[in-house]
Amino acid sequence: MNNLKKNKIIDSSFKTLGIFFTLLGVVILIILLYNIIKVGYSRVNWEFLTSLPSRKPENAGIYTAIIGTLDLMLLTIIFAIPVGVGAGLYLEEYAHKSRLSRLLEINIANLAGVPSIIYGLLGLGIFVRFFGFGGSILAGALTMSLLILPIIIVATREAIKAVPSSLKEASFALGASKWQTLSKVVLPSSFGGILTGIILSLSRAIGETAPLIVVGAMAYVPFVPHSIFDTFSVLPMQIFTWTTRPQAGFAIAAAGAIIILLVITFVMNGIAVYFRNKWQSKLQ
């Protein structure tokens, strides 16, 4: 009887601990958001979004950083999506159970675990130096594309796997070729899942700082880039440089920029979840 009581006490105290830790995670999230909003909200206005960076914190804006982020993402989308979806299609639909396909699979799993800063070194060695692109938007976008490729590939494969085989078989039975089946049946019905993966990978890319620092994103860009060979800054890079400045005014500006970055990240994640739910209920 005594033992039973003891065990029950242990059981319920562990439950309390579980609730406490779970709430702790949520509470820390709230503390983080609250503090950043408290510090930075005064800076979030139209002027902040449309001003160039400045040596004076109270005048500094994030215009060039936002344009840099948009340019970088646009280029990354152009490079990474066709290649990522293509590779996912190949691995799921074409690759036979051979040593090569196993190697590809292990390799992608490994790439997903490579720290982002290593991709920066890769980009520095290949795109910046070897191809001579310099610290340009192009070099940054190519680096970023390689970084998010594993995410897009994995998401594509999962989405294709979820397409019922009856759909594919029906298409084959009608005499469609493999590519016709893939492009007209498999891709459209896995579109929602692929899109979810793409948005999540982009939301990751938008917040990435380290590889772009290595590739040569600038701390201070007083102009809007005109071509893909121009130097650039991005939102997280701007936040990083402002955070490391000693003047208190820059910490406020950094918090303001963080609010913008978080809004973008959360909105993208929200859209991704929306698409996933919509797609999953459509498939069933």
């Binding site: 065990n7 242990i10 579980g18 995670g25 074409y94 590809l104 070194l121 890769l122």
Partner: protein, 291 residues
Amino acid sequence: MKLKEKIIEALLFLCASITILTTIGIIIILLYESISFFKNVSIFEFFTDTQWTPLFSEQHFGILSLVSGTFLTSAIAIAVALPIGLTIAIYLNMYAPKGLRKSLKPLLEILAAIPTVVYGFFALTIVTPFLQTIYPDLETFNSLSAGLVMGIMIIPFISSLSEDALYAVPKSLKEAAFGMGSTRFQTSIKVMVPAASSGIIVSVILAISRAIGETMIVAIAAGQQAQLSLNPTIPTQTITSYIVQVSMGDAPQGSIEYKTIFAAGLTLFLFTFSLNTFSFWIKKKYQEKYE
């Protein structure tokens, strides 16, 4: 028609092979610059010197200082994330009502979606000043605050992946334990966690690998002084934050400072590569066990 199909297959294969080229590219770039680095600095010095000062006039190239910083911040992060993450996983799987589990898991995963530069800001401007009110001798840049915040960031890695592993344990095991009169805690610790141990280990290894490679939090909050010390209250430098420091300056290509970031990068890559390979091996073994 047949030709078109073949061309498309070849193109798609090309897409897939870019991933192989990426890996080869990483290895070649890291090795190429590192070999050139080791022509100037002996490997013996690299592994035994206790100082890392490539940017000073008196240069030392002892990677141990950076490794100790990396180890320290990661150890603090895991010390936070492992008990909290695993407890959350067990709670969500064994105790929480189903609906709550469904809404809490994505809520916690928001922690992993926040850009790391934001965590760096949080560590430097909020956590460090708070810790200083408790322990006034804590320096502005320190590994404690960076490690703690990094731990918060990786909680969802452990909690979500471990919960997935617990979820995959056959229901019969759980029911058998309950049938014997075990409490939920006894069932968790004696049946569920051991049964899901490989999945849990994989989640922890991934979290460690993530912590070792994490850059922005340490670059912002842990300082930029490489020192061979395990004191969490003083500034330190990790492999990653050293690469950031050199990249923010302008080390000319071909200079020894430029090459150090590749030697440091190679060290980092070897660490994470071994961890990832190990987790892959465990995962494979685990799959065989259940099929």
